[in-house]
Symmetry: C2
Subunit: 498 residues, 2 copies
């Protein structure tokens, strides 16, 4: 099973197409998938813009405004993010079955992408007019058409078997496979169809059905997991069935695509604020003449907090990307649960521009300074703690999912631990400090921003020093209890740190 | 030389880090480069947003407005695009020398990226206040700091030689290499420093110097090319010197990175309009109640042209991506000139949202309908004709740059030709048709939009049919002139099409 992906890559090497006879028009799907990942990651994070652009008057209390305005938009953002990741997971599954593409498949995939990019808009409609069936109807129509296009892709793939995954190509049960994949792909659209029907006479039911579409993959996964835990005798038969479909029911997500999708999200989030800055923060030449007597620098200093917010947001996103990058260097296999945690982490990453937009608008101007900083800290904390959770999950099955160097007791284990723990600790610390010392909250926040990048640069040295100290302390205490097994001491650096 | 890249890839395979001793912290640079490409491509296309968001009153003549408002913003957009591609080319060169990274290099690279993302803003300042030195000063400062960070990266790389390209690692002239690379990297910052100095007493000179920074790589390339053409006897010695630095002076751009950068531009351009639609085109619930008596669909039909513009823009971008994708499947090596043509093509791709924004705002409402459509056609034409130019350039050195199947006379040659010629022909045709039949311009434009995707789907069949017809016509005419060499007939399908 784990040999499937590398073998497929070896076969479908990027670059020139295959030679043999009729197949000259088939191509490796690598670039198509990269482009799809880029599109999907942009769409997933787009809906944070209406949230970030919500103008709140400095005198207004943040608490009330959030309740009135933001909550609905944040809900739309999260819904969009989740549905796009579901569509993305389905896309991965689809192109794990179909490994080579030709022009027809490329065009069909583009059509599919176009409809997916339209989904956020239907969510906005639903959120603005929760009582009108039109939003649900439009969303369902899009989802059904996407499902049908994917079904056409599958049918086309099975009609031209040389496009398929090698294992399915060789299998005798091709028809069975096809049936099963179609069933998985069309499950969502059928639910959407029901939602569209219900939307005309009982709207709450259709919302329940739409929620089901988003969480269905995880619910089925949970049910299977529970069954495996409780039903002992059934397990054998279950496993046998699983083996046949091993790479869509129980598949680890493709690590490359998780990375590509995450990269897209991090990149668009890092640059979201520069979009605003380039449009809104270029002073008007007339205003500069009248108000500032042609002194451009004075006029620009008005925007100071905005620039600071931009750099802070870029640095935080960049460093969280760096942590993610380091983590995935050592992860050898991505399970579904790790994918889910990654999605949660990315959803909070998408919220970062909102946090920093708040700090740029409120800081030192209004009553909401502390709230803005605390919101930023909370978002940073959750984004980083979910990264940490990925690492913990990986440690549970470290033989399958982690590179030997990063396993418990490995050379890089302690260092990795420190890298992942830095942001949760710092953001939590800053949060509680602002609660205690509310007068200095802006100063605390800025110090945190400046210190963290240097902490990352010096992390390796810091970890070595602390490990050395821990070692000597431990060896001293052990010498007292006359246990001198030095090997164990170096094998458990994580304990000493946690 | 061409063996350099694959060897490097084999050595620096993505995934787990290397094992040997001290090197456990080094990593393959693939993901860092992918993330950098994503950031750079977003930044390159960001500045089209202020252009696209320029509100023009429907009664105002488009011609005048363009002169007053748009031209400056378009200039800023093009400047940004060019400077970012220059920075990107420098980035490629840098990471062709340094092939493995560690945490320090990753963090330095992030700092470098952050400064690059700030460059568009300095251009906006320059464009808004052309007579004030502050914009130039800020740009120069950023460029100098970027240059210094890159110099630090090079110095760090040469201090830890295991990070370097294998060929340089083995070379005896390491110091010479280092000197040469630093010289190339610091050339831009030195010019910027001069520009910053001149900005205080003679501003036009600093603009000339900044222009030089953008075009310097191409100017030096042109000079070398001219020298090679004119100076016959010097050629030998020149080539010998070139061989030593073969992969930075005469290097073909890394094909993967050209693809990644292009993918980023295409993806962000395809989704730029949905950003606006999600923010601006959700009707206000109060307005729906008062003006449309709770009929949401009527309210939405007001936005019809916007949705149409979005889909048209997405389809055009998607299909141009598809052509680009097909083209680069058959290109085996990307020369600098092809990279330059690709940059021009991408710069026009970035302009597509502007064109479609115009059609959505003007169509059937104002005097500027035809102009808006013609602008879209012109942008599409240039975006696609530069793609075509890449193909022509590749054909000139087809033995080095093209896959055998796509070479002149190859199986896929005619098909590739048709794919690349479709958009230039269609957009040019639509342009002249709107001139002739100005009353039906909107209808012509919409028909073009609907026909093109289907033309792509049926292209293979169409090409086969026309080839068969041409073949039979040719064989008939040849039979008359008693030349029956059938093989030559099938070897020149391009002639029959052009």
């Amino acid at each position: 099973m784990s040999a499937l992906r590398p073998q497929a890559e070896g076969e479908a090497a990027p670059g020139p197409p295959r030679h043999s006879g009729e197949l000259s028009s088939t191509q490796a799907s690598t670039r198509l998938l990269a482009y799809s990942d880029a599109l999907l990651s942009i769409i997933a994070t787009v809906m944070i813009l209406p949230v970030a652009h919500t103008k709140i008057h400095p005198d207004q209390k943040l608490g009330e405004s959030i309740q009135q305005l933001l909550l609905m938009k944040i809900a739309v953002y999260l819904m969009t993010f989740l549905i796009v990741t579901v569509a993305w997971a389905a896309h991965i599954r689809l192109f794990q079955v179909i490994e080579l593409i030709d022009d027809v498949l490329a065009l069909l995939n583009l059509a599919c992408m176009m409809l997916i990019t339209f989904l956020p808009y239907t969510f906005s409609l639903m959120a603005s007019f929760p009582g009108v069936p039109f939003g649900i109807f439009m969303f369902s129509t899009c989802a059904i058409v996407i499902g049908l296009i994917q079904a056409v892709i599958v049918a086309y793939g099975f009609y031209h078997p040389y496009l398929l995954n090698h294992q399915i190509q060789m299998s005798e049960n091709q028809a069975f496979y096809k049936h099963h994949i179609l069933q998985i792909i069309l499950r969502g659209p059928v639910l959407c169809f029901l939602a569209a029907v219900f939307s005309f006479f009982f709207i709450p039911m259709s919302y329940v059905l739409l929620g089901l579409v988003i969480f269905l993959p995880h619910i089925t996964r949970l049910i299977i997991w529970c069954k495996n835990k409780t039903g002992g005798p059934e397990e054998e038969e279950e496993r046998h069935r699983l083996e046949a479909f091993t790479f869509y029911l129980n598949e680890p997500l493709s690590k490359e695509r998780v990375e590509a999708f995450s990269d897209g999200v991090y990149a668009i989030v890092a640059t979201l604020l520069i979009l605003d800055i380039c449009e809104d923060n270029v002073p008007d030449s007339k205003e500069v003449k009248d108000r500032f007597h042609d002194r451009l620098i004075e006029a620009l200093s008005e925007y100071g907090p905005n620039f600071l917010a931009y750099f802070a947001s870029f640095v935080t996103t960049g460093l969280l990307w760096f942590v993610h990058h380091s983590l995935f260097l050592y992860i050898t296999k991505t399970t579904r649960f790790m994918g889910l945690l990654n999605t949660f982490s990315l959803a909070f990453i998408g919220g970062l521009p909102l946090g920093y937009q708040l700090t740029s608008e409120f800081a030192e101007k209004s009553h909401n300074e502390i709230e803005a900083i605390q919101v930023s800290c909370v978002i940073t904390f959750f984004a980083s703690i979910f990264q940490f959770a990925i690492w913990i999950t990986a440690l549970f099955h470290e033989r399958e999912t982690l590179h030997p160097l990063a396993r418990y007791g490995g050379k890089e284990h302690a260092f990795m631990f420190a890298k992942l723990a830095l942001y949760p600790c710092v953001s939590l610390g800053a949060f509680f400090l602002t609660c205690l010392l509310s007068k200095f909250s802006t100063a605390i926040f800025h110090i945190m921003q400046i210190v963290v990048p240097f902490a990352f640069l010096a992390l390796r040295i810091l970890v070595r020093i602390s490990l050395a100290i821990m070692k000597s302390v431990l060896s001293l205490s052990r010498r007292k209890s006359v246990v001198l097994d030095e090997e164990e001491t170096c094998l458990s650096p994580a304990e000493t740190l946690s």
